[in-house]
Symmetry: D4
Subunit: 251 residues, 8 copies
């Protein structure tokens, strides 16, 4: 029951067109969100930009098309589809203006918004194998209105390569540090930069990497301040959170 409906109901009580008992009943049945203090469909919604995201895994191409069309008819200018394979993308392209990025397995329908955050989001990976996760993060951030700097394959075992990018890293407002294997990258970056670092462990590695567990534990124990961690391979989550941080206080 939104404020308008509540107001209408109370006016009906005031003018006697419904009884108090009937009003009590309607109040008890009113869905929670209608009272105005919860977000409608929030858990799938993105910030109040014109963008929306569809989690593509487990959805048929036809379902993706239908959801995307509904969102677009509802006014969304940008629709992001994550975890979508090339075949599904081919299908969607037939009916919608989809740009497909195979590396990040992500599709963009509609226009990319003009960046309006505080600054740049730097996306840094330890190796080339981490790039698919990085691209998922990068395209998510782009679709949500952020400028993105990609710095790939600068793992800590070749420090000079990382240090060669010091200026780009230090000038970012938010940093997404992505690494598999020993997962040391976020700690080193957290020490270099004075910005929030979102650490993303990847499932890259073998043996005692245990599918990303080694990197995950490493990142959770980072001795650098300002580092927090999302789930293994969760590029979308990192990109979404980075965008949220980059728009703090932006009206």
């Amino acid at each position: 029951m939104d404020q308008h409906k509540a107001r209408k109901l109370l006016r009906q009580v005031a003018d006697g067109s419904i009884t108090v008992d009937e009003a009590v009943l309607q109040l008890r049945k009113a869905p929670f969100e209608d009272l105005g203090f919860a977000k409608v469909d929030h858990h799938r919604g993105l910030r109040t930009s014109a963008a929306e995201v569809i989690y593509g895994a487990g959805k048929t191409p036809q379902q993706i098309v239908e959801i995307a069309e509904t969102l677009r008819s509802g006014g969304k200018k940008t629709v992001l589809v994550t975890r979508m394979d090339a075949e599904a993308a081919g299908y969607v392209k037939r009916s919608l203006p989809l740009q497909y990025y195979e590396t990040g397995r992500i599709g963009l329908i509609g226009e990319v918004p003009v960046p309006d955050g505080h600054g740049k989001i730097a996306i840094v990976t330890g190796g080339t194998c981490d790039i698919p996760v990085a691209e998922e993060a990068a395209l998510t951030a782009l679709a949500l209105g952020n400028e993105v700097t990609r710095i790939y394959d600068v793992g800590v075992a070749g420090l000079h390569r990382l240090l060669a990018h010091t200026d780009e890293i230090m000038s970012a407002r938010v940093i997404i540090a992505i690494a598999g294997m020993e997962g040391a990258l976020p700690s080193v970056i957290g020490g270099l930069a004075d910005a929030p670092v979102i650490a993303v462990p990847t499932s890259i590695g073998y043996g005692a990497a245990f599918g990303g567990l080694a990197a995950l534990l490493s990142m959770l124990n980072s001795c650098a301040s300002g580092v927090s961690v999302v789930n293994i391979d969760n590029g979308f989550g990192a990109g979404y959170l980075a965008s949220m941080i980059n728009h703090i206080g932006v009206e």
Copy 2:
């Protein structure tokens, strides 16, 4: 070698007062940070406010006093001491203006800065047992120039208590959600609010809680977007990161 020294060296080369070979030697020996693209003592430094933090665990009270005095003589107006027990606090108080907060095992030397972030940081806990971790986060955030809203003991098993604070939670710029046991709080809050949620698992619980592992895994798998996780019981890290986010783009 900072720019002044580099400039001086080059001038000496230019005027012939040192040879090229000597200059090469000096350049090779110059400590990395002197070239100006790394921060001095960054990993212990906080943002460019007047505050500094001392990790108290494993330090003698005398060591804490000495470090604090050095920092204060170096211009720091606020010094935070974390993981300090009451006995150490008693010792420090004799020579320094320490405010000691026993619950969070944290001490504040000097004045609390005026908040200058984008908005409030909400600190929410699932139970009363999580409060020590929450207080560590709260006092860290306060000492770094943030306004803090404490919302304690609103675990997901009593949803009405959490929902009663919907307005406070939704108006925060950053949220720190702290919970032990099943660690569900950040997911629920991540669904309600449109702000970054820093999840802190605590070691509260028994049996299959495995010292915070259950809450940690739960938080890493949050189905809400905008949630990231720090180490178990890491109240300081959460407070520090929340402050960093709350000051994005603040000059």
Copy 3:
């Protein structure tokens, strides 16, 4: 040896038609269950309704047909076949009146009994991916004589969706709460409702979900009272137990 046989044996002893020694031998050899204090084939049996279940995994379609025919000729009106793929269902349909439900990979042979429990069993899932497990639970409960309410895709990250179903949830006698990823659903429902909650972790998720371990630990540590847990993806077990609870004291 059931009571009739025991009685007959004793009468033979009484009338001298067999010797004491022969009777001792027969008593020692009598299978345990025949003495009347164990249930015949209990571990596969269901409560004393007319229903029986066949665990389909690892059985050939031909084996399923044979077992089902034996059960039906033994008087069972309803036979449930779990974990059966579509191909096997096609085979069974040729000789038996099978209804196949592909989502839950479950088949029903015969009629669905009229519900005779205390009330409704609510089956709630966090996401759409959890629905196969939910359907296994739902069809099991239906086949065992229960009224079932399905409430799907109401995960805790979108609380309003869950709260919109408050009445249905609170009016259920037993609740089955099914979730993967962070597994927070049972805790929230356990706080809302005053009925036993059977929590089912699912293997949905990736990375630190570790095949359902995160959800499992989360559920075991639920801070809500009245919650217990079954194995990962064990929809059948939850439906069976819910039916058992829903028929407590029903003659």
Copy 4:
């Protein structure tokens, strides 16, 4: 806002003593539970009997006394205090009519209600070391209005001892099966009895028992139907859930 308050508010709107706007404001601010579709303080509350429980761990004796007095003055005839040590019990006894049961580390203030469930709750343990957890369950169930049958030290390695209690086990409406070490008891009981079995792993054991993990995993994998599991050593949770099940449909 309970129905009485809502009704009063609406009457005030109806008679014009408050404006519609003021009423809207009050409705929005009303704590969720006041609308009548959530339980007041549910997560600590027990079913609608006259009993209430205080989790004693981490509370001072003085705090326990204060909470208990508040509950009693609010009409609760029975107050259960769990995880309370003997010293705290001694303190509470001075001001309240406490019965203290040291084995289960539990205290009962006030009268034990007359059992009003469907039938008996059988509490079965594998060894004598499991008895403290069993007593926590037993006294919880008693305080909530249940008849309890204790069957202790009947582990599966001495099957005759367990089978000697077949009648008691089979006549129970709900069974709580408590075991450490290999945790096999619930599986065996689940095969014997036709009632819901709540399995409680205990931290009893050494070496590869890993603090109850072995028993926990064993119970989750029970091949018997009708078995569900609560957290390691969670006697209270088992007793509470058993009572809830034993009162299904009881008005």
Copy 5:
């Protein structure tokens, strides 16, 4: 109901001194073991020698005395008390002829039986720290009628020390191999000897030993045939099993 009682009952039926109905009732109530196909108190009992064992952990000295006296009055010539500390031993000694072996924390009441097994049991340890577990095994085996050869501190990192005992090891009928840390001893011994090897991991070690887990896994994966494993630190279990094997077919 043993055979004598069953025979008596049947004779009473035969001579009409009890009715068939009364006999049926008695049969149903007869504890399982009385029918003669289960062992009385088996799980605590040892093989049909004159020895019996009391698990001392968690028992008061007074309880130990009482149980031991009951056993001795029941005809047991040897009573073994495991996991008993020196203080308890002192108490027991006052009333019973106890020999206390502090290293193995084990006490022997009564006489040690004359060995009557097939041959010797060799008890081998990797280090000196494993000796307490070894002594628990050794004294258990001695009390159950076995000849024991102790070969201590012959870990695989000093192979010559182990090989110096090749004859003793190869002439044993059963071998108990006890090791912590990397747990390699049983594999090496399993390769040298042609007798069953009972491997006992110990909790000796630090770091990645994880309380005996490393040794346990190592032993379970032994590439030598004829090796089986008991729980971490379970010297008693190994000694008991070794004795059982050493008496196979011994009348």
Copy 6:
């Protein structure tokens, strides 16, 4: 260097046909086993019967044929091939008298020896899914000269089925208890029988079974005495060890 060779060498020294120096050299170079106190090729060898085993996994059919022919030409009357698929068996059959048992994935070349152990080996499984592991154990035991009793699908959740086999179980000299899921079978059997129980966890199960880990931990923590454990799915190891125990002291 076996005794014959050593004796010959010494005689050569004694009669001067070789020098002392040459003898020293030969002694130092003599492979360890030749001195007579180690077994030739022991780790692949079986006891001193006429049987030998080939581990088929990872070997080509051609390799299996070659090894088998070598063994047979060396006097082995029985050759066992484990972990061999049907296709390989077909190949081997063309050139050797192979009996192939598909369930246990095991092949027998040559004649099965006449049993010469102390008694029977009982092989018991919890479910029908455990039968492949059981057959691997059974055929191994048969090939090594043992009489085998198979008791399958008698899991603890249907106790009457297990108890119906009490006589067979209690009359066995050695028992192999095989179970997946909760792994409770060895504990129950260990309580019933007075013979060594070799517990074999299987990887049967799903979810929290974790590939046999639950059963493994359960078995290691068995509260019954006389139980030891081999690796998950290690039917061969159990059969081999059981045979070894069954032949203790048999000349």
Copy 7:
């Protein structure tokens, strides 16, 4: 900026052809490694021999060819390609002089350097299944200028086989000990030899081997001194490290 470039820059400053300010700018922008105190591309580089390695996994044959050609045109005489399948090798062979070793999945382009280390590297495996990892190590060591001794299939369960190679093992300067299953080999070798032992756990095994975890833990807990461990299946890492050790102090 290497020394030559730095020297040139300084000379330009000295002769006035560039200004001091321009030189400062160039110094600050110079990649870190150019200053001469970091190694160019070190993390992929090998020691200062003429050899280089390409990690083949995840690279297309075409990419491998391109990288190899670049390296060879840059003066590398030997290029090693690891984790390359036979198909890729076939492709590369068409344009480059590749020697392909299928067992170790490794390819060598160019000439094998003349060994110039302190002595031999012994590569020892427990079983034949470990040979692929061993060959990866062996060929890496060969390509880096080492003499290699292969000692395969000498697991600890057949000690005589290992001891037969004592001389070869004891005369090696560095030993690589490779084993799966229980991973005991490095401990035994560490006790025999007086050289550094690099332990490589392999993922060989099943059940409680947990993909190499058992061997890994075993090796980390080795009771022998001089043993260190690399990742599961990391033959390349072991070969590289062994070469590094074997060339210590070699100019």
Copy 8:
């Protein structure tokens, strides 16, 4: 039987003073090591310097004194005692010239040998809490004849501090990198330096550090070549191995 004894025995055979049979018997009984191809007491021995080590944990001060006196009377000039507390050190000092280093809990009896390795061993720690482990390594290396460079508290979160020591690190022959928490130090150092890196995880940290497990996994997955790992907190093992490497080929 060493060569001298073997030679003597053979001469006795040659001259007929003992029979062939007697010689055979003596050969078979000769301890393995006497044949000259194993090291006497190797597993406790150090390299062929004059130093020896006593593992102090679990030994009484009196035992330490006795062992040390035996070693010294046997010609050892330096005896190292590890894991010894201050109290034990006080006792030992009364009778032996002990230098006690409390931080590393290590004692040195006798003179420190003159360094004779290839070069320096650098010992680097991430934090100050890692220093006790570092000192155990350092003093072990010193006692075994190595020059040691200590570089403490240079964790990766403050990269400039580490880089300030680049020259010292790069000029070392062997590097011991010690870190707790996220354990990233060895990876960064492995990328900077061209020497073997021995990584030592420490148990420093809390929460998801899991007693050193996070650092251990991180180090095992290092993306830098030339890194191997020893057990958590194993400073002695690292120092011993580093010395062994530093003396490769040194006569």
